[in-house]
């Protein structure tokens, strides 16, 4: 079990419910304040979980993607009432289309960052624990698929190093054509290896009787008082935010003209609860750290 952050030590149900809510809200709320809240909390948690890798991902992928989307959208979308100038095609460039592009980009970055947190918190053993009984084949397949990319990356590095050590056939050596050949053969090795790995995993799980009706699985997860409290908190926040959104407190539209609610009392209340929901894991971590340091200092 990962002991790096306190939120991961909660019951898998709490973790999974939290991410379900966050994915749902982040994907459906186009209100700019909600997007900013979600982005801020996602970055906080991601930095807490992965450290420098999160920042690298942010600057190397997320920000360029955000800029690209907000530039591409106005090139194809000409709706909007505020005309800034005219494009060479004769169609107008509108303020609304730029802002819509920005919001779509932010939403994409948000959801990707949340998924990277999801991968850190919901490890494959938690996933199998949650869904192993209900949908055994699907959950095994999903957990294998979800861990495929990180595993592939790690193994690729291994193969690359082994090849460069043993025979000097590395992508940094030789002419362009040779290097291309090395890369292709390295990739082919990887495909073979992962296919074989998948079959081996399936065989091994089968031989252990995975998915048989009467077989139980060992797990160390128990729902404690702390988990019950967390579940209650998640339900409270979800119902509050859902009520707020359904009653039109988070109404926002971009086309044809930007209209929405920004500072109504109910809207502000919804922002606060939404922020509380999003920041929950980071707060749990910080509180736990403070507690630990406090106890440490007492010894």
């Amino acid at each position: 079990m990962r002991g790096r952050d306190a939120f991961s030590n909660y019951h898998p149900l709490v973790n999974f419910l939290y991410f379900c809510l966050i994915f749902g809200f982040s994907m459906f709320f186009t209100h700019p304040v909600c997007l900013l809240i979600s982005l801020f909390c996602a970055l906080c948690l991601n930095i807490k979980l992965t450290g420098a890798a999160a920042l690298k991902g942010l600057f190397c992928f997320s920000l360029p993607a955000l800029v690209a989307i907000s530039l591409i959208n106005p090139a194809f979308n000409h709706q909007g009432t505020v005309i800034l100038c005219y494009l060479p095609s004769g169609n107008p460039l509108t303020l609304e289309s730029i802002l819509y592009g920005l919001s779509a980009g932010t939403m994409l970055v948000c959801v990707l960052t949340w998924f990277s947190c999801f991968n850190e918190v919901i490890t494959s053993d938690k996933f199998i624990y949650l869904f192993g009984r209900i949908i055994p084949i699907m959950s095994l397949l999903l957990s294998m698929a979800l861990s495929f990319v990180p595993k592939f990356k790690a193994q690729f590095e291994q193969v690359k190093q082994a090849r460069s050590c043993l025979v000097g056939r590395d992508v940094t050596n030789g002419s362009l054509l040779k290097r291309l050949g090395f890369a292709v053969s390295c990739f082919s090795i990887m495909v073979t290896k992962s296919l074989e790995g998948a079959i081996e995993t399936a065989d091994s799980m089968k031989s252990r009787g995975y998915g048989l009706p009467k077989r139980s699985a060992f797990s160390v997860y128990i729902i404690s008082k702390r988990d019950k409290f967390a579940l209650l908190w998640l339900f409270f926040c979800a119902i509050f935010v859902l009520c707020g959104s359904l009653s039109g407190c988070l109404f926002w539209r971009y086309f044809p003209s930007i209209r929405g609610v920004l500072i109504r009392p109910a809207t502000i209340a919804t922002y606060i609860v939404y922020f509380a929901l999003c920041i929950t894991p980071s707060i749990i971590d910080i509180v736990e750290e403070i507690k630990w340091k406090y106890l440490h200092s007492k010894i």
Binding site: G90, P256, P265
Partner: protein
């Protein structure tokens, strides 16, 4: 633990009632109910006040002399709410002519669209509105016809006192360089051209390919140009609710006026220029198979916004060309109207252009 739970519940109950309140001052426009006018025709000020506050679009209807009429009032258009008499008295109806007078003794202070549903279809695209005062008729504007089960006359009277007469504009009145006004909608004979266009009826201008045109900026001509979307007023329930905000309260985006164009320009060139000069949003896409631009939306009112058969069409001297607007070469004194259709042109008399 119990204490915290109680605190949370208390918070939930405290904040929940606030969720229902409406404090925003930038409410988007919404479609209100249809209200039948009382016998006297008077609508109280508080009705208008509520419409203004909630930015509602409300239709008031009544029947006079066996003819149904309807006012479409935009809440955003009302400046100072007051008691108003919206009733009209239709005095005479004959084919291609209708006379009525307003019961109101004062102007409304805003200009809603009056839609009169005629019992017989008029054989005209548009009509002229005359003001009758001391037996003298002065033309004050035009009315557009929309066919939806029955023929509807749409126009926005600039004042709401006195008597008006609406007379159908016969096709002969329109300035036209075509020689024979006979059978305007009959199809010519022959096969489709290479851009999939049916033969143009006899006497109507043939399409001119945009590649063959040389614009001569030294020679200027004039023509009449207008953009209107009154058919949406008659199909408000089909309109995308988000687009209610961009719908003009009088149904007219660009009132008919004389504009200049250069020798050799196509109708599309003129539309682009008029929209730019007047700050009207317009989106068009070049369609190679028809060798023309296709106008998707004007003023954020797009194709398919008001039902699956909706979009923009153009009409020149009462005829809807069956080819794209980039292939229509402008002529001196053309009367050009861009009109929004909600039913593939059938409602605005342009069904022939889409091959029906």
């Amino acid at each position: 633990m119990k204490k915290l739970f109680a605190l949370l519940l208390a918070l939930l109950f405290c904040v929940a009632p606030i969720c229902g309140c409406n404090l925003s001052n930038s409410l988007p426009a919404s479609l209100g109910d249809s209200i039948e006018l009382p016998e006297s025709g008077v609508v109280a000020a508080h009705v208008f006040e509520e419409m203004k506050r909630e930015n509602k679009i409300v239709r008031f209807y009544a029947v006079s002399n066996g003819i149904h009429y309807e006012w479409t009032v935009f809440g955003s258009d009302i400046e100072s709410p007051k008691d108003l008499n919206l009733g009209i008295q239709i005095t005479s109806v004959s084919p291609n002519d209708i006379v009525f007078s307003f019961i109101s003794k004062e102007n409304f202070g805003f200009s809603p669209v009056l839609s009169i549903t005629l019992n017989e279809t008029w054989n005209a695209q548009s009509a002229t509105v005359y003001k009758i005062a001391d037996d003298v008729q002065t033309p004050i504007g035009g009315a557009d016809t929309v066919i939806k089960d029955k023929c509807i006359l749409n126009f926005s009277p600039p004042f709401q006192v006195g008597s008006l007469e609406i007379r159908a504009k016969s096709e002969n009145d329109a300035p036209s360089q075509t020689t024979s006004p006979t059978a305007p909608n009959s199809k010519g004979t022959g096969t489709k051209d290479k851009y999939n266009t049916d033969p143009v009826p006899e006497g109507k201008p043939k399409p001119v390919e945009p590649d063959d045109i040389n614009v001569n900026k030294k020679i200027k001509h004039t023509c009449t140009f207008s953009i209107e979307c009154s058919s949406i007023i008659n199909n408000l329930s089909d309109l995308d609710p988000n687009k209610l905000d961009v719908l003009p309260p009088n149904g007219v985006l660009f009132a008919p006026q004389t504009v200049e164009f250069y020798e050799g320009e196509s109708l599309y060139d003129l539309l682009v220029r008029v929209c730019r000069e007047n700050g009207i949003q317009m989106e068009a896409v070049w369609t190679p198979i028809y060798n023309s631009a296709y106008v998707e939306g004007i003023n954020n009112l797009y194709e398919f916004d008001c039902g699956s058969g909706s979009g923009w069409m153009y009409c020149v001297n009462g005829w809807y060309p069956n080819y794209g607007c980039s292939r229509y070469k402008l002529c001196e004194n053309d009367n050009i109207a861009w009109r929004y259709t909600c039913n593939l042109g059938k409602d605005i008399g342009g069904a022939s252009a889409v091959g029906e």
